[in-house]
């Protein structure tokens, strides 16, 4: 089958436009997948077996499920911590129930808080296309993009929030507003006793002055603000707290996998597990520097044997992603040991398996938010080489929980070094996992929320 066939879903219909190596990662029908199962590994790389349909989501885990992850003493302590909050009520408000990191996090957080007998209600604001166009513009502007903040835009933004405010009740003890979209709901604070918290998930280090100037008077009315990094915060008149983003160790992306499944995924993608595997998981985005990773791999290959796996998505729904994918394939040339996988959004299990199969994980970003793919790799105890940008140095403590790099050459050297010093690499991986366990798991975040609620409600 021609890999550019129109029968291939858009997400997987990428082609080897370089015309060289044939390392194209297109999806196939089940019949074809059966046909290719017996192919030699290198042939299979040309036709990886990529899932065409999303699997059903698993049920959310229970609190007790985390005992085997963090241990009974830590889990019990979470319960003791929350005892003072029994019967207290919390409302979480954001702008979407599905999709995106905030909704994903709330989907896990809310049931866990309920189990701790903190009555938690999750509300979602509604609005028309015009409202969400505006909030998307705000989002980009708060990241430093240009924006023309007209009076009409301000009116639509405020009017939509006012409609939501009229619809909602705020009778809880604590109200947590996520991100800028519902920030104007603070207008209800004067009518109730609740403590109000603004949880900002985005980087405000270099915001558009007009947009931030418009939002800031609202933010200053809250009782506390939360940021994901001190570098993302602004000078505000209210106390600011630091909540690191977190991963769920029981999610599809991070849960333990059967070795047979990891092997199957490698077989499907034509990855040889008898040789070292260096992996970068990320969107095909220049800020993740996938071309730099290819160059680093090629420099390292002069000294050590390894394969490079570049797996991610975004090349199908993002025109720039497609361009970057093409650049990566051109950089890869005809090297049969570079495996490029453009995966669909429902590939959490496959990504989990790829990370677990890896000898080293690379995240050579040039700019980064927090970098949760690094967290995922550390959680799997993988020796990790990462760019010293954004939230990565919070996770990768140089030479203790991983190694930080600032250049292609540095990345190449660390690939060589870690592949030839497996004991040191193993120690980095072990420390990395402990770092995540202590600071970056969902249960740590539940603990942070409970502490914050106790402080705000005078129960400390």
């Amino acid at each position: 089958m021609d890999e550019t066939s129109k029968g291939i879903p858009a997400f997987a219909a990428e082609t080897d436009s370089s015309g060289g190596n044939g390392n194209v990662r297109g999806a196939m029908s089940e019949t074809e997948q059966l046909d290719t199962a017996t192919l030699p590994l290198r042939e299979r790389r040309k036709k990886p077996r990529i899932s065409e349909t999303p699997p059903l989501p698993p049920p959310p885990p229970k609190l007790e499920d985390y005992e085997r992850i963090i241990g009974k003493p830590q889990l019990d302590e979470l319960r003791y911590l929350a005892e003072a909050l029994h019967g207290k009520t919390v409302k979480m408000v954001n702008s979407t129930a599905v999709g995106g990191g905030v909704a994903e996090m709330l989907n896990r957080l809310v049931p866990l808080m309920e189990e701790l007998q903190i009555n938690t209600h999750w509300d979602v604001i509604t609005g028309g296309n015009d409202f969400f166009e505006i909030t998307k513009g705000f989002h980009n502007a708060l990241h430093g993009g240009s924006y023309d903040l007209s009076r009409q835009i301000q009116e639509v933004f405020l009017a939509t929030n006012e409609q939501n405010r009229q619809r909602m009740k705020f009778e809880e003890d604590v109200v947590v507003i996520h991100d800028p979209q519902p920030a104007p709901l603070i207008a209800s604070k004067k009518d109730h006793q609740a403590k109000w918290v603004w949880r900002c998930h985005i980087d405000l280090s270099n915001p558009h002055p007009d947009v931030w100037g418009f939002l800031r008077p609202m933010v200053d009315q809250y009782d506390a603000a939360i940021f994901s990094s001190p570098a993302f915060a602004r000078q505000l008149s209210v106390p600011q707290y630091l909540f690191y983003p977190c991963i769920d160790p029981l999610s599809e992306k991070n849960k333990e996998l059967e070795e047979s499944y990891v092997q199957k995924v490698c077989d499907d993608f034509g990855i040889d597990r008898s040789r070292p595997i260096v992996t970068q998981i990320s969107r095909f985005d220049r800020l993740k520097d996938p071309v730099g990773v290819v160059h680093a791999y090629k420099m390292a290959r002069n000294y050590v044997d390894c394969q490079l796996v570049l797996a991610g998505g975004g090349a199908s729904d993002d025109p720039e992603g497609a361009v970057v994918l093409k650049e990566v394939m051109e950089a890869a040339g005809d090297d049969p040991d570079i495996i490029i996988l453009n995966l669909p959004p429902w590939s959490a299990l496959e990504i989990n398996a790829l990370q677990r199969a890896s000898t080293l994980v690379v995240q050579k970003s040039l700019k980064e938010g927090f970098g949760l793919t690094v967290t995922e790799a550390l959680w799997k105890a993988k020796p990790t080489i990462a760019g010293a940008v954004g939230g990565i140095p919070t996770q990768v403590i140089h030479k203790l929980t991983g190694v930080l790099v600032h250049s292609v050459e540095g990345c190449a050297y660390q690939i060589r070094y870690l592949l030839t010093h497996p004991e040191f690499a193993k120690k980095l991986g072990e420390n990395g996992r402990e770092h995540v366990k202590e600071n970056l798991l969902m249960t740590t975040n539940v603990r942070r929320w409970a502490v914050l609620f106790r402080i705000l409600l005078g129960l400390s």
Partner: protein, 227 residues
């Protein structure tokens, strides 16, 4: 010590039981930030005491799993972001157990940085790779149901509590007590009458052990001392 005496020591009721507590903290982002050593020194002088606590003592809990090379956030920044290995070494040599107040700990840190800048004036305005953001720690106490009425019970409960509880009693306690000691040693000395064992516990090196290692070491010392 005879077997009977050992058994008696293990089960003899202490006049006052030991109540295991724990604590949980939040990181508060403070206003101070430093892009070079000059700014760092100014911020060290003006930051709240809770910031000094966070970056020297609380950070030990956040990085308790590392046995090698992590001492405090200030030393780490001086090394990785300022490339000032000499300053990093001096800051890393600080042992929080030698201080009974945050103000004396702050004074010592300020002295080290002042002295370093005096000897290396060019380092004062050299920009770090990334700024140091001062945070502070805001904690709540967590009572636990674990109570020891005797040494035997103390060892058993020590196995059950979280590492946060061990940090709370063994490390944080020094500043609460304002003594070069800790809650465990104080109880063993006063309530069980084991001053030498208490002193041995107090010498456990928290910088080269994980908190889990500390737990095991505490149990080993208590068992061997009464064997």
């Amino acid at each position: 010590m005879s077997t009977v005496a050992t058994a008696d020591l293990f089960s003899r009721a202490a006049p006052s039981p030991f109540h295991f507590n724990s604590s949980a903290s939040l990181l508060r982002i403070e206003r101070e930030r430093a892009a070079n050593l000059g700014e760092f020194l100014e911020a060290l002088r003006s930051c709240p005491e809770e910031s000094i606590f966070q970056h020297t003592i609380q950070t030990l809990q956040e990085h308790h799993y590392i046995r090698e090379g992590f001492s405090n956030d200030f030393a780490h920044w001086a090394y990785t972001d300022c490339n000032e290995a000499g300053l990093a070494e001096r800051l890393a040599s600080l042992d929080v157990r030698a201080f009974t107040s945050i103000s004396s700990l702050r004074e010592q840190i300020v002295r080290i940085v002042e002295e370093y800048i005096r000897l290396n004036p060019a380092s004062r305005d050299r920009n770090a790779l990334k700024p140091f953001y001062f945070c502070s720690s805001q904690s709540v106490i967590i009572p636990t149901p674990f109570v020891a009425h005797s040494l035997g019970e103390f060892i058993e409960e020590l196995k059950k509590v979280s590492v946060h509880s061990i940090h709370h009693h063994f490390i944080e306690a020094r500043l609460r007590l304002k003594l070069v000691s800790n809650d465990f040693s104080m109880w063993l000395e006063k309530e069980i009458g084991l001053p030498k064992v208490a002193a041995r516990l107090n010498r456990i090196d928290i910088y080269t052990l994980t908190l889990e290692d500390v737990r095991q070491q505490l149990i080993r010392i208590l068992r061997s001392a009464t064997a």
